[in-house]
């Protein structure tokens, strides 16, 4: 099975750019960097999580680990894991 993570990371970044605009800092945030420390607000982060539910067809569970929400890479890893 091909590695799904690169395509998922690309889709997550596209969702962020949709919310912030193509000229925003989010287009250049490295995959592994903390989104909050990079400047993504809490409202934007939650909006991203909601958009991911629609884009990838899953629901976030109440007991999700905070570390899973840290970066584009960790978010992509979570999506790949829940897709099995």
């Amino acid at each position: 099975m091909p590695d799904q993570a690169p395509a998922v990371r690309e889709r997550i970044r596209a969702l962020l750019v949709d919310m912030h605009g193509a000229d925003s800092f989010v287009s250049a945030v490295p995959d592994a960097v903390s989104l909050r420390e990079a400047g993504v607000s809490s409202t934007s982060l939650v909006s991203l999580l909601v958009a991911m539910e629609d884009a990838f067809g899953f629901e976030w569970q109440d007991d999700v680990r905070p570390e899973a929400l840290r970066s584009i890479s960790s978010l992509a890893q979570h999506v790949v894991a829940v897709r099995g």
């Binding site: 990079a38 400047g39 607000s41 809490s42 409202t43 939650v46 999580l49 909601v50 976030w60 905070p66």
Partner: protein, 182 residues
């Protein structure tokens, strides 16, 4: 810019500072640090430097608990001398019904949305999260896992047995929430 005593909590000092163009993360950071320097001065701290911890949180001078928040346009800092922990959040973004449903439990939406806006409750959870994290005994958690309930004229935010009162105010396009743990 002016430091003002906050009517929500005796001894609390609050300072706003505008974010300069182009209003990116770097400008927001600078505005926050300027706000906090002014708030610490007003509160009587000789030390006005607030370095970052390894996890990105600001480290306030001993005895001067505080917190910083910003939108893309404005930063705010709150300092409460003698408090155990402080959390502040300012929000300008519209909270969509989906985001509200994500962050607020069904009971919170049913009991609190008649009195507070979704943006105020969002800010309340964020402010409480900062204060509860600063206490440092709860481990890692997410701000929406905090539960809100009304108690007289203040919100009470709770997580795993720890609780903190949260005051919320809204003006124009901004909602402000402050949590203070004594």
């Amino acid at each position: 810019m002016a430091a003002v005593g906050v009517d929500i909590e005796p001894g609390a000092w609050l300072v706003w500072h505008p974010v300069r163009q182009p209003c990116g993360p770097a400008e927001q950071f600078v505005a926050g640090r300027r706000a906090v320097a002014a708030a610490l001065t007003a509160a009587g701290s000789a030390d006005r430097v607030v370095p970052r911890e390894s996890d990105g949180r600001p480290r306030f001078p001993r005895g001067f608990a505080g917190s910083i928040s910003h939108t893309g346009r404005v930063a705010v800092a709150v300092v409460v001398p003698g408090a155990a922990a402080v959390g502040v959040d300012v929000e300008s973004a519209a909270i969509t019904p989906r985001v509200s449903e994500f962050v607020l439990r069904e009971r919170e939406r049913r009991t609190l949305l008649a009195q507070y806006s979704a943006r105020e409750l969002f800010a309340a959870k964020e402010a409480a999260f900062k204060a509860l994290c600063a206490i440092g005994t709860l481990g890692e958690f997410l701000f929406w896992q905090i539960e809100l309930r009304q108690s007289e004229d203040v919100l009470i935010a709770s997580y795993r047995g720890a609780s903190v009162p949260v005051w919320v105010r809204s003006e124009a396009e901004l909602s402000l929430a402050v949590a203070v743990s004594r």
